[in-house]
Every structure is written in structure tokens, then in C-alpha cells.
């Protein structure tokens, strides 16, 4: 177990090192074998670790060596396997492996094949470090590592301006969040004297009253980090632009794994959040607002990946909403199901882009007939995200809605508002996803060329992930079905009941639960029907076109994402540019360059005077020598 955990993170690192140093000289098959093989090894070992944990569910931590030991704080390089880590480990390696397979086909014609795979392996290494770390510092290392890989992969097509700029944007926005995270870690280190989860949480659990104030501050700092990494208000702006990277990257990093790191972190630190109802309220409100805000922006996008990006932000908002009302297991369940259906959606969109050579959904159309596998898997994952029963999203989203409703029922009446927002978001989600589906697959083909189905290396992952979207939901069936809710039971050790901390589960009557479930299915169905009525055939678009023509301002505002980017540019961007300009022209231009240039000026001036001695006339030089000797003699005698 100890060796297996270490090997899980070291295998992708080895793959990265080999490909980054020798990738250019290796044949493509070699690069593929190293990259996919190393992740495959990780995935197999992860299965082994999961199996071992399931047979004996005891959290275990393994120390490998001490990174540093300063003034009573000892930080070991240690990995741990508890329920939460195991859950993340499983789907990160599983989805990651299939996306590696998919990339073989998708990046086939790419010149920088080895560079792409080396980054992807480095990402797996960082993500697994983040997930398996047993202390906050190591988690932060992984946290920064995935941020770096995200930057590198968004800017993969660095010869073009948009990807290069988007990479920078993602990195900088993430830095803002990371700053908050780091402050939170400092707080933990000063107040708890250790950074290991086990010790920190044991201290907090033993005496929650002693940390009441500071725990809330720590929770908020950590949440700032989560808003950056998981693209929540107000730091979500980088994720839509992150779509500039290759599509498998969007599937792996910006949908399934990295962006859920924030939810993972909040769930991991649930004791901090539960110490402070205010912090929990902030999380819930931010989550709900993000969910509805991003969903509404997704309604009018025409770039297939942008639609999916906004839907990712919106779904992440759901997860934080769940975490904010204390339903951490439900939040993680949604992380889990989301990883499958969103990865499948992104890979499907990659397959479409591969075939049509465009991102614009209005240049696709009618692809149901030509791309059968892509169509079916896309339909499956669309059903899943929309929340149609038996597909994964139904179970997790329904659980979130029910948790919020129950939370509101238990003396937090204001949370009914959040529930309302979440229901509206569910309608929007269903609507924009089926809009996407009908525009792309319905009607007639409107683009150029003749699209054809993608190679097997791309369709196989689609089939695997798409098929699983119909299965994984059953891991968390609601109580009313009288079946074991495996996910909740599995994650139970995550949220110990502690006297004086907010609870994590609120119960609803069975009748209420049925009503909520039927209600959410009806809402999803309405969204579906609305999209079907408006987008099913090319002819039915006329109403939409007429509507957007009648309300150009409304449409433009939504299409341009409420001008949030522009707003940030005018405020934060302008302020930063002002400071930069001040630094450039005053600090650099006057304070630093001034003295430097002045000394240079004096040297030049002296030279200009003295150069007249050097007139190139040999006899003048002879005169100088004589004069010099004369002066020396006069001085000596």
C-alpha cells in the first residue's frame, strides 16, 4: 500500500521526465507508450488501492521523508488514503487514463505530440499529489502544479494570440485565489502548529469552541482559493477562456479534475466551514449565484466549448451550494458524476470539432446520421447533465436540491431563495444542453466538407464514459428507494458529527422527497421540451431569431457575458495598469534610471572634454610624454 501510493504519483512524473527530455527523439509510438503506459499504471494501482481500502476501510497515512522541520512545525512528505482521497483518486486516474487514450487520436496530426503528452503526465502527477497529500503544504504543491499545467496546456497553441493570452489569464486569476489559500494555510500553521490534516482536525474536533473565530477566517481564506481554482464568482472569468487549449485538456483539467479541486478542498476542510455558519452561508450563496449566473451566460453562446465551459462553472456552483449547506458527501457525489458526464461531453465536442473543423455550433448540424457513436454518447451525457432519471446527473443534482431544501427547512429560511435559484438553474441547464444537442445533431449539415466519425481511439473513451453516465448515479440513490446509498455511506468518515459544529445532514419526509424529485424531473423535462420546440429543426429557429432581433440589448448583454470581462478590465485591470504605469514612469523611470543615467552622463561629459587630448597627432602625444616626464621629475626633485 505504501509503495503503491508512492508509485501512483511517481509513474506520471517518470512519464513526464522521459517525454520532456527524450520525447522529441522518440518515435510517436514510444511517446504514446510512455505517456499512456505511466497513467495506465497509475490507474491500475489506484484500482488496487481502492480495492484494499474497500476491503478494510481504515484511513491510512504513510510518511516517506521529512520535507522540513522548523520551530516545532514538521512537514513530512506523506500520502494518505482515506475515503475522500480514494474517491478522487479513483475518478482522476480513471477519467485521466481514458482521456490519454482519446488524446492519441485527437492529437494525431499535432507536431508537438511529445510536449502535449509530457504536460498531460505532469498534470496527472500534480493532481494526484493534490489529492493524496496528507498535509496542507503538499496539497498546495499539487494545487500550484495543476495551475502550472493548466497554464501550459491552455497556451499549448502558443503561436496564436488567444491561447497565449488565455493561459496567462488563467494563471493570474488563479494566483489571486492561491493567495487566499496560502494565507489560510499560514493561519492554520500559526494557530494549530501543524499542517497535517489528521492533527489539525483532531485539535479542532477536540475543542471546537477554542477556534470559533479563527476557524471562520481560515474557512473564508480557503474558500477564496477554491473560488480561483474552481472558477466561482468573482474569479470564474478564466475558465471560458481556458477553452483555448486542446479539447481533451478541457475535458481533463477544466471539467473533470482540476476545477473540482476547490470542492475537494472545501470538503476536506469541512470542519473549518462547519465552525462558522457565516462562512458556510458565503459558500452557499456564492455557489448558487455562480450556478445561475453561469447558466444564463451559457444560454446564448455559439461556441460549443464555451457552452460547456459555462455549464461547468454552473455545475461547480451546484457543488459549492451543496457544500455550503453542509451536504459535503452530496457535493462530492456531484463532483464524481460530473467528472464522467462532463468529460464525456467535452470529449464528444472534441470529436465534433475534429470532424467539422469549427467550434461554432451553427456551422454543425445534422450530425446524428454521420457520427453515430459521438451522437449517442453525447445524448447520454446530455441526459445526465440535464438531470433525466437513471442518468448520473439526476441523482446528484436531485440530492443537492433536496439538501438545500432540507437545510432551508431547518431554521435557515433564507436558503429557500437559494433553492429557488438552483431550480431555475436546473431548467436553464436542461435548456442550453438540449439546445446544443438539437443544433448540433438535428436538422441538416450547415458546415463545410464532409464530417466523418472519429477514430476508435477517440470513440472508445466516449463509449466508456458515456456508458458510465447511465450507471454511476446508482452509487447514490435517494433514501426513498430503500436501497443503500453507497456514496453517502462511503463518505461518512469525512464528516464526523461534532458537538458545537453545524450538522451535515437534514432529513426530509419521504413525501417531500418524492415531491422534490418529481419536481426536478419536471423542471428538467420542461427545459428539454422548450429547447426541442425552439431548436429541433432549422425552421423552428425563426422564433429565436425574431426574439433576439426584437431584444438586441438583452441578447448582446447575455452573449457578451454581461460584460463582466470588460468590467474587470475597466476596474481591476485599469487600477493595475495605473500602478504599473506609475512604477514604470516614476519608480523605474525617475528613481532608478535617474541616478544611473546621471552617472552615465558624467562619464560621457568627462570623456567629451578629455577626448580633445587624443587628436591623433603623434607629435602631440610625444609632447604629452615629455610634459609628463617633466612633471614627474619636478615632483620627485
Amino acid at each position: 500500500m505504501k509503495a503503491a501510493l508512492l508509485l501512483i504519483i511517481l509513474a506520471p512524473l517518470a512519464g513526464f521526465l522521459i517525454n520532456v527530455f527524450f520525447g522529441r527523439r522518440l518515435p510517436r509510438a514510444g511517446v504514446t507508450a510512455v505517456a499512456v503506459g505511466s497513467v495506465g499504471l497509475s490507474a491500475l494501482l489506484a484500482l488496487f488501492v481502492c480495492g484494499a481500502y474497500l476491503s478494510a476501510p481504515e484511513p491510512a497515512a504513510f510518511e516517506y521523508y521529512t520535507v522540513l522541520s522548523v520551530g516545532g512545525v514538521t512537514i513530512p512528505f506523506a500520502l494518505q488514503a482515506d475515503a475522500l482521497s480514494i474517491l478522487m483518486l479513483f475518478f482522476v486516474t480513471f477519467v485521466g487514463f481514458w482521456i490519454h487514450i482519446y488524446s492519441i487520436g485527437y492529437m494525431e496530426h499535432e507536431e508537438d505530440y511529445a510536449r502535449y503528452f509530457s504536460y498531460l503526465n505532469l498534470f496527472m502527477f500534480a493532481m494526484l499529489t493534490l489529492v493524496l497529500a496528507d498535509n496542507f503544504l503538499l496539497m498546495f504543491v499539487g494545487w500550484e502544479g495543476v495551475g502550472l499545467c493548466s497554464y501550459l496546456l491552455i497556451g499549448f497553441y502558443y503561436q496564436e494570440k488567444w491561447p497565449a493570452d488565455s493561459g496567462k489569464k488563467a494563471f493570474i486569476v488563479n494566483r489571486i485565489g492561491d493567495f487566499g489559500f496560502l494565507i489560510g494555510i499560514f493561519f492554520i500553521a500559526t494557530h494549530f502548529g501543524t499542517l497535517r490534516y489528521e492533527e489539525v482536525f483532531a485539535k479542532l474536533q477536540a475543542d471546537p469552541g477554542a477556534y470559533l473565530g479563527v476557524a471562520g477566517i481560515i474557512a473564508l481564506c480557503l474558500f477564496v482559493g477554491a473560488t480561483g481554482k474552481s472558477a466561482q464568482l468573482p474569479l470564474y472569468v478564466w475558465l471560458p477562456d481556458a477553452m483555448a487549449g486542446p479539447t481533451p485538456v478541457s475535458a481533463l483539467i477544466h471539467a473533470a479534475t482540476m476545477v473540482t479541486a476547490g470542492v475537494y478542498m472545501v470538503a476536506r476542510c469541512n470542519l473549518f466551514f462547519r465552525s462558522s455558519p457565516e462562512a458556510m452561508a458565503v459558500v452557499a450563496v456564492v455557489g448558487a449565484l455562480t450556478a445561475i449566473f453561469a447558466a444564463s451566460m451559457g444560454l446564448a453562446q455559439t461556441d460549443i466549448k464555451k457552452v460547456l465551459a459555462y455549464s461547468t462553472i454552473s455545475q461547480l456552483g451546484y457543488m459549492f451550494l451543496a457544500a455550503g449547506v453542509g451536504a459535503y458527501a452530496v457535493a462530492m457525489f456531484h463532483v464524481f458524476t460530473h467528472a464522467f458526464f462532463k468529460a464525456c461531453l467535452f470529449l464528444g465536442s472534441g470529436s465534433l470539432i475534429h470532424a467539422c473543423h469549427t467550434n461554432d455550433i451553427f456551422e454543425m448540424g445534422g450530425l446524428r446520421k454521420v457520427m453515430k457513436t459521438t451522437h449517442w454518447t453525447f445524448l447520454f451525457s446530455t441526459l445526465a447533465i440535464a438531470g433525466i432519471p437513471i442518468w448520473a446527473g439526476f441523482f446528484s443534482k436531485d440530492a443537492i436540491l433536496a439538501s438545500v431544501f432540507a437545510f432551508a427547512g431547518h431554521h435557515h429560511g433564507w436558503a429557500y431563495l437559494l433553492w429557488g435559484l438552483a431550480v431555475v438553474t436546473a431548467f436553464m441547464t436542461s435548456f442550453y444542453m438540449f439546445r446544443l444537442y438539437y443544433v448540433v445533431f438535428g436538422g441538416e449539415y450547415r458546415g463545410k466538407g464532409h464530417p466523418h466519425e472519429s477514430p476508435t481511439s477517440m470513440t472508445l473513451p466516449l463509449v466508456v464514459l458515456g456508458g458510465l453516465t447511465a450507471v454511476v448515479g446508482f452509487l447514490g440513490v435517494p433514501v426513498v428507494f430503500h436501497l443503500p446509498n453507497l456514496m453517502e455511506r462511503f463518505l461518512e468518515p469525512l464528516t464526523p458529527a461534532v458537538e458545537g459544529l453545524a450538522g451535515t445532514t437534514f432529513h426530509l419526509s419521504h413525501g417531500m422527497e418524492w415531491a422534490l424529485m418529481i419536481g426536478s424531473v419536471v423542471v428538467a423535462g420542461l427545459g428539454w421540451l422548450a429547447a426541442r420546440a425552439l431548436y429541433r429543426t432549422d425552421a423552428s429557429w425563426t422564433w429565436v431569431k425574431g426574439f433576439t432581433a426584437r431584444h438586441p440589448r438583452l441578447y448582446d448583454t447575455v452573449f457578451n457575458k454581461y460584460y463582466v470581462d470588460e468590467f474587470y478590465d475597466r476596474t481591476v485591470g485599469a487600477a493595475l495598469r495605473g500602478v504599473s504605469r506609475f512604477c514604470f514612469s516614476i519608480i523605474d523611470g525617475v528613481l532608478i534610471e535617474g541616478p544611473v543615467n546621471l552617472s552615465g552622463f558624467f562619464v560621457e561629459l568627462t570623456g567629451n572634454v578629455l577626448r580633445f587630448l587624443h587628436n591623433g597627432n603623434l607629435r602631440t602625444y610625444a609632447l604629452h610624454i615629455v610634459l609628463g616626464v617633466a612633471i614627474l621629475l619636478w615632483l620627485v626633485f
Binding site: 577626448r611 587624443h614 587628436n615 591623433g616 597627432n617 603623434l618 607629435r619 610625444a622 609632447l623 615629455v626
Partner: protein
């Protein structure tokens, strides 16, 4: 006796210096330098005989050897310069001036 020899040395030296500083011809420049060197030699020899020691005269042998080498190099330089610039006036050779 030594006074006369030193006076002659001084005269020769000043003469050589005047030639170096006042004439433009490269050849005359060399002559001036040779005059100064030999003025120094004469002084060496004078002091040597006055002191009854030989080291002054040994120094003179060195000076003569080095002077001949210097003339060899110097003349070579001036021949090259003459071929290049068609002049032997040092005042015309000012291309390295600022």
C-alpha cells in the same frame, strides 16, 4: 671630463627630442629617437668610466640591441603605412582619432 660628456649627452637628447616633436617625417622621427637613445648611451658610458664600474657599459649593449629591434619593427610598420596611405608624414596618419 665627465661634465663635458654629460653636456654632450644632454645636447644630443634635446636635439633628438626637438626632432621628434617638430618634424613630420617618419624617417626623421626615427633619427630623433636614435639620437635620444644614443644620448642616453653616452651618459651611461660616461658614468661607467667615472665610477670605474662596467654595468653601465653592459646596459649600453642592451640598449643598442633593443634599439635595432625597435627600428626593425618600426620601419616595417612605416613601410606598410606608406604602401597603404602613400605618405610618410605622421601628421596625416590620424585615422584612430576620436
Amino acid at each position: 671630463m665627465i661634465f663635458l660628456a654629460l653636456l654632450l649627452g644632454l645636447l644630443l637628447f634635446v636635439l633628438g627630442l626637438a626632432v621628434v616633436m617638430l618634424r613630420r617625417s617618419a624617417i626623421l622621427l626615427f633619427l630623433g629617437i636614435e639620437l635620444m637613445l644614443n644620448a642616453a648611451n653616452l651618459t651611461f658610458v660616461a658614468f661607467s668610466s667615472a665610477n670605474g664600474a662596467l654595468d653601465g657599459q653592459i646596459a649600453v649593449i642592451f640598449t643598442i640591441a633593443i634599439a635595432s629591434a625597435e627600428v626593425g619593427v618600426g620601419l616595417a610598420i612605416f613601410i606598410v603605412l606608406f604602401r597603404r596611405f602613400k605618405t610618410q608624414s605622421v601628421d596625416d596618419l590620424r585615422i584612430l582619432r576620436w
